[in-house]
């Protein structure tokens, strides 16, 4: 019977996985990721790919919002930058997909940094509005810069190819997405063990104190925007390669809101939370659609209002989480673990 987790060495305290249970869970998750594509049918693979891309985007946004405390409503716009950069370089200039993805990541990081400059003077509400404006400006540029983006028409992107294998099936693409998810996860978990990550957290907790202790706010806030946008750009580029088609409708302000909802429902400032939130928000509309189809025969009226039920549930879930469990799914998960660890003497 243990009452908590206590460490007696620094090595143990710095370790990413501290307990046996965590190590076993990690192994189980890795096994699940490896086995899943062989068991699942095409439909579930599609969902798995969408979840993977959402996880990358959510981790990116969480680094900025959850860890550094800079509110951003520009996620959709930044994803559009990534998707269009990757799409244009591959489709028009014949660049290989991996090269265009890397360029897209850096291009998005650059754009994100530029729109992050107002964050040096603005906080909270004002920053939210500034990034909302960034979203509107980027999307407007995408729609109106016909020569570059093709305007409101869809941009067709050829399927990526790796070692001579065309990534045109969900099965092949699964490996690409989830390998990247694993890399991004390892990188971002480790980011918060470096002085960069600690500076981000210090800025979130109390920016003036951080500044007094020698954290250069100018540098680290912009760096947070850059790192976050880099990952968001990766998610955008993957969307372009996965869908083979890029349209502006996929990057509206609703996307920004959905990603914010992911990290809030999952848990701000938590990588596990990003996973849980991304999975939850990607699967919620799917589950609702299937539920609607299931009861369609008995309630025919359901069919026409499914999209609105989805939208309403989306809003309701956000409101309920914020009122009932502001720390999100991650906290619920922790509570469950605590309950069983301390059972039968839980308090």
């Amino acid at each position: 019977m243990i009452s908590g987790i206590f460490h007696s060495t620094y090595e143990k305290d710095m370790a990413l996985r501290r307990t046996h249970a965590q190590k076993i869970r990690l192994v189980l998750i890795v096994i699940f990721i490896l086995v899943f594509p062989f068991l699942a049918n095409r439909y579930y693979l599609t969902l798995a790919n969408q979840v993977g891309i959402a996880v990358i985007g959510a981790i990116g946004l969480n680094i900025l919002v959850g860890y550094t405390g800079q509110i951003s409503l520009g996620q959709g716009g930044f994803m559009a930058v990534g998707a269009y950069t990757a799409g244009i370089l591959t489709a028009r200039m014949g660049m290989p997909w991996w090269a265009s993805t890397i360029v897209a990541c850096f291009a998005t990081a650059l754009v994100g940094t530029v729109f992050g400059i107002p964050s040096l003077r603005l906080k909270g509400l004002y920053l939210a509005i500034a990034t909302l404006a960034a979203q509107e400006i980027i999307l407007w540029a995408v729609k109106n810069w016909d020569a570059l983006t093709g305007g409101v028409d869809a941009l067709v992107v050829p399927n990526p190819e790796l070692f001579g294998i065309r990534m045109n099936t969900d099965f092949n693409f699964y490996w690409l997405v989830w390998i990247l998810v694993v890399i991004v996860t390892i990188a971002s978990v480790n980011l918060f063990r470096t002085h960069f990550g600690r500076a981000f957290i210090a800025i979130r907790d109390q920016d003036i104190a951080a500044s007094v202790m020698g954290v250069d706010l100018f540098k680290y806030k912009l760096l947070a925007f850059a790192v976050s946008s880099f990952l968001v750009g990766l998610a955008g580029a993957l969307t372009a390669h996965y869908r083979s088609i890029v349209t502006w409708e996929r990057f509206t302000v609703d996307v920004s809101v959905t990603y914010l909802a992911m990290i809030i429902i999952g848990g701000l400032g938590s990588i596990t939370g990003s996973y849980l939130g991304a999975t939850f928000m990607t699967l919620l509309p799917v589950v609702l659609t299937n539920l609607g189809r299931a009861v369609k025969t008995s309630f025919p009226v359901i069919d026409s209002i499914i999209p609105f039920v989805q939208q309403g549930m989306f809003g309701l879930v956000i409101i309920l989480f914020l009122i009932l469990e502001p720390e999100g799914l991650n906290k619920i998960w922790k509570n469950i673990k605590d309950y069983f660890r301390l059972w039968p003497f839980s308090y």
């Binding site: 906080k123 404006a133 960034a134 509107e136 400006i137 109106n144 909802a261 809003g315």
Partner: protein
């Protein structure tokens, strides 16, 4: 010159409606420090409710307008009580997100009842073209200006003369001092939300008459942000002047420069204002900087 007058008149109408929406926005921010991302959906609710009253139930538009305002007030009180009250003291991002969630929920409810296809709305306010100084403009647009000015005048009177209005200004000024003077801050928050919902609903009803009833009405609400930032987040006159400036700016760029530039210009202005003068034209200079 005709084009100029035409654009000015159209800009003034849009600006007047924007000002109505922005007024509610500023009111909520001033009294409770909440940014209401659902302001556009309040417009939407107003537009659809008056559509239901006038086009579906066949009521006279004055009565319809009156009932719409009552529905909006009830909605505002309910939102404040159920959604915003538990959020007092929570971090800013939670408060922002809860109003975003609210906007999604309101939109879904409206579309579930009425569907999301644009509705043909027999204009309830006469809309015959009128010639003024050589420019032609729909009579309904002129009515929109008149109603908006009347509303703004009414609110000015409310804030200066009525007991509730003065209490509201006191709460906006200093919550603790207001509490110690025996003002119920909770009641004032409910007042702020219901007034915001009511002004937005009136704006939505006017908008519905001019551009028709559809989901686009909610998108109009997004343009409230440039208005309030330009005017100053906590300034009522700022909301009105900001609304008119943005309305005119959109029309002039649309008319003289074109190419859809009018859609993005307000947001460019927004970023610019935030960079040089974050508290806007008339706002209080207490923005926090690091």
């Amino acid at each position: 010159m005709d084009l100029f007058i035409q654009l000015t008149l159209t800009g003034l109408t849009n600006g007047a409606i924007l000002a109505l929406a922005a007024l509610g926005f500023v009111l909520i921010y001033k009294s409770s420090d909440v940014i209401n991302f659902a302001q556009g959906e309040f417009l939407l609710v107003g537009a659809y409710v008056i559509f239901g009253m006038v086009a579906q139930f066949g009521l006279h538009w004055t009565l319809g307008m009156f009932l719409t305002v009552i529905v909006a007030v009830a909605l505002g009180v309910m939102v404040e009580r159920l959604v915003l009250r538990p959020m007092i003291g929570e971090p800013i991002i939670s408060v922002i997100m809860v109003t975003i969630g609210l906007s999604s929920l309101l939109k879904a409810i409206v579309f579930t009842i009425w569907g999301n296809l644009p509705k043909a709305f027999p204009s309830f306010i006469p809309s015959e073209p009128v010639k003024i100084l050589g420019a032609t403009i729909g009579e309904d647009r002129l009515w929109a200006i008149v109603i908006a000015i009347a509303m703004l005048g009414l609110f000015n009177f409310f804030f200066r003369r009525s007991k509730e209005g003065i209490a509201m200004r006191a709460v906006a000024d200093d919550q603790q001092a207001a509490l110690s003077m025996g003002i119920s801050v909770k009641k004032i928050f409910a007042w702020a939300w219901s007034i915001a919902a009511a002004t937005a609903a009136i704006g939505g009803a006017l908008l519905a008459n001019i551009v028709g009833v559809s989901g686009d009405v909610a998108h109009f609400g997004l343009r409230v942000f440039p208005v309030v930032i330009l005017g100053g987040l906590d300034s009522v006159p700022g909301a009105i002047i900001g609304g008119i400036i943005i309305g005119l700016l959109e029309q002039y760029t649309g008319g003289y420069i074109g190419q859809g530039l009018n859609q993005v210009l307000p947001f460019v202005v927004l970023i610019f204002i935030l960079m040089v003068r974050p508290y806007g034209l008339f706002g209080q200079e207490i923005i926090e900087r690091v």
